[in-house]
Symmetry: C2
Subunit: 428 residues, 2 copies
């Protein structure tokens, strides 16, 4: 696989022609179920008006905090019960196949807990800064809101996202293969303001955020990153953080693996060397083929996945105008381009990035083509602004073996059958 | 009022000094409620660990679609019962004072209905295009998802937002004075693709979107706008539109008044002149002082409001480092700058725009200052990229009188008292 040819492949067509070719089916539907005023409607149509046109709907006062339509009840985070020992130390997955754009709604952001969801009373919550600082400080939530704030859209990806795919195609749906990622707008205080307020000692080189949950999650973060772009966030997508995302405070570590984004943040210790905590020794290290482990593999490299069509989002037509939609992201900055293959990597065509393309946020890409109805092997390949190109799974395995569950950013393949069904496969 | 002086005013201070001056209070809090490992903690602290540190929290499987913390139960849309005759033809308001950033979470987007919330089964919903087209078309939801899509962040503001303020300060809270605005990322099909698919006749000049609710909302939209940037949207913030926002389809008319963004969209008629429907004759016209009415006042002019502090978000400290946070938006493009006054418009200082500044989206601004604890008269004034400057309420009234309830984009004043309480006032 691989190659970077721009030659037209078997399903290639010009953009100009595909709409009239592919959408003819849409025009054959009767207009009778629609309203009466249109040219295509008839007297009969009036008696067929749906209930939602004939009767008043529910009023405003009954829904102070809104919920999705009951017809969207299947659009939910899902877990994989056999994957983890208990729901308190487990994970749920973002339904990427049902979503579009670049913002993940708060109710659908994947969760990963080590000791369940801490339900914190914000009036009793404190953030302490201690260690190699001039004056240790303790802040209330109100105190923190007196620092200058920033608003940034960032993806958060678990290091174990796609981890089951190291040893072959195992999970049938991008919710499960790639759903440990979400992307929201955070509002928070740059960590540098808080550290500067405490006053860094000259030998300060690392910080250790600590969570207030029963797992007391801890990771070592280099001071340079802490002073660069980390945020102590209290809002996501405009409202307070959700409990499962660290309410009332979480550390945002842009582009770096999700476990470092400590939730329910209660303490930042400043030190001169890393702490070698459980979560950076026993866990979140990458066991290589030779038995050695990579450590401090913080950055999430460029990655992409086609979210539709995908195993949970089959095609409902059999040929013609077809839209491929997907996500690409890189912990090293902006996505520069995405290419899509319809034939398992033999030929590639540039995808269209649409919507804001922000550093360390997901970007949405589309590829529109005229499907001839034959089998497809869909792939996407991201390139970030550093020039890094998303590798194939084979290329990754050649370097890293298959012992780890972390940092699998290999190219994903979906087999689309002529009946529209989609399956997770590997090509070689 | 007015003026554009950049001279320092009574509460002016340099940015460098305000943190250490203002945040000293934060350091006096005891660290005892925090965890045991910090330098400032003691043995006593261990026995005071909160329950959320001592016990496992709830697991992942119980929350397939997430909700805010119970401590945020007051962050909701609210209605004003005396304002409208029934909940089915009413409005709820976005809690702007509780939000930050530029994205409104879907559950908190204000609602305005004329006949309640249509609860539509998307499998039975159709979009018809008829009138001055070569071939009338009817689309299913699946059909529409075969057109190319776009993702754009746009504000939506009701023309009546701030309408009660024409005749003086009346509603005490920015949720009520300015809460008929929200801002989300839409995913949808450019309307031009759908119209081109139907084929416009040479005399086509207007389109009329029509809703499928019992009010069958209709407005006339110039073809030029329809072909420029209108979207037929099916997602907001990544997921399906909420029922109260038009599920499964709404027209997005960027920068123009909210009633034109027809919800539950079932039909687009193409014509050669406007239809003069009820909603553009009896309603949504602006009655002037001389008895004449302005019509087709589509664009929402540049506007801003300070969301915190505000009557529902008082200051919880009595002096020192203070953050003013607010929103600015313009139907004519990007926000170019925002100025903030602490003294009712005598002196102005530039605010800091933070986060993405996108055309026809809200922008977030901040102004950090060292509060001396005396009374404040807070104002914000937006300037958009066309050079348009948000007017004072007096300037608006001089031109438009006080007969209308629509298109009030005047400068808002909050009176902050020394005890931190905030009131809606007018200055002259």
């Amino acid at each position: 696989m691989g190659g970077n040819s721009s030659a037209p492949d078997r399903t290639g067509t010009s953009r100009r022609g595909f709409l009239s070719a592919g959408l003819a089916a849409g025009t054959t539907l009767a207009a009778g179920a629609l309203a009466a005023r249109g040219a295509a409607a008839s007297d009969t149509a009036i008696t067929e008006l749906p209930d939602w046109t004939r009767y008043l709907g529910e009023g405003v006062a009954t829904r102070p905090y809104g919920h999705p339509s009951e017809f969207e009840s299947g659009v939910v985070r899902r877990d994989v019960p056999w994957l983890t020992a208990s729901p308190e130390s487990s994970v749920s997955f973002t339904p990427l196949h049902d979503l579009d754009g670049i913002i993940t709604p708060n109710g659908l952001c994947f969760e990963r807990h080590h000791a369940g969801i801490a339900e914190i009373d914000p009036s009793k919550h404190r953030l302490m800064v201690n260690g190699l600082v001039e004056k240790p400080l303790v802040f209330t939530m109100d105190d923190l809101k007196r620092f200058p704030r920033e608003n940034r859209v960032y993806f958060l990806e678990c290091a174990a996202n796609s981890g089951m795919e190291w040893r072959g195609a195992q999970l049938n749906g991008c919710q499960y293969t790639h759903g440990m990622v979400h992307c929201v707008m955070y509002t928070g205080v740059p960590l540098k303001h808080i550290l500067n307020e405490a006053g860094l000692r000259t030998n300060a080189a690392w910080v250790m955020p600590e969570g207030a949950d029963a797992a007391a999650m801890t990771r070592s973060v280099p001071l340079q990153k802490a002073m660069d772009d980390c945020l102590v966030a209290f809002k996501m997508n405009g409202e307070a953080l959700r409990p499962e995302q660290g309410y009332p405070l979480r550390l945002v570590v842009p582009g770096w693996e999700g476990n470092m984004w400590v939730k329910w943040l209660r303490r930042i210790e400043v030190g001169d060397e890393p702490w070698h905590t459980r979560e950076e020794t026993s866990k979140y290290t990458d066991l290589l083929e030779n038995g050695k482990a990579r450590r401090f593999t913080w950055v999430m490299d460029a990655k992409s996945v086609i979210t539709s069509p995908s195993p949970q989002a089959p095609l409902n037509h059999r040929s013609g105008a077809t839209v491929v939609s997907g996500l690409a992201w890189s912990g090293n900055g902006r996505i520069a381009r995405v290419d899509v293959s319809l034939d398992g990597g033999r030929n590639w065509r540039p995808a269209r990035l649409d919507g804001p393309v922000l550093p360390r946020a997901v970007s949405r890409f589309y590829c529109e083509f005229d499907w001839d109805g034959s089998d497809l092997l869909l792939q996407s390949r991201a390139t970030d602004e550093t020039g890094y190109v998303q590798p194939s799974k084979e290329e990754l395995r050649a370097v890293r073996g298959v012992n780890s569950i972390y940092h699998n950013n290999g190219i994903q393949t979906w087999h689309v059958r002529s009946n529209g069904e989609v399956e997770n496969v590997e090509v070689s």
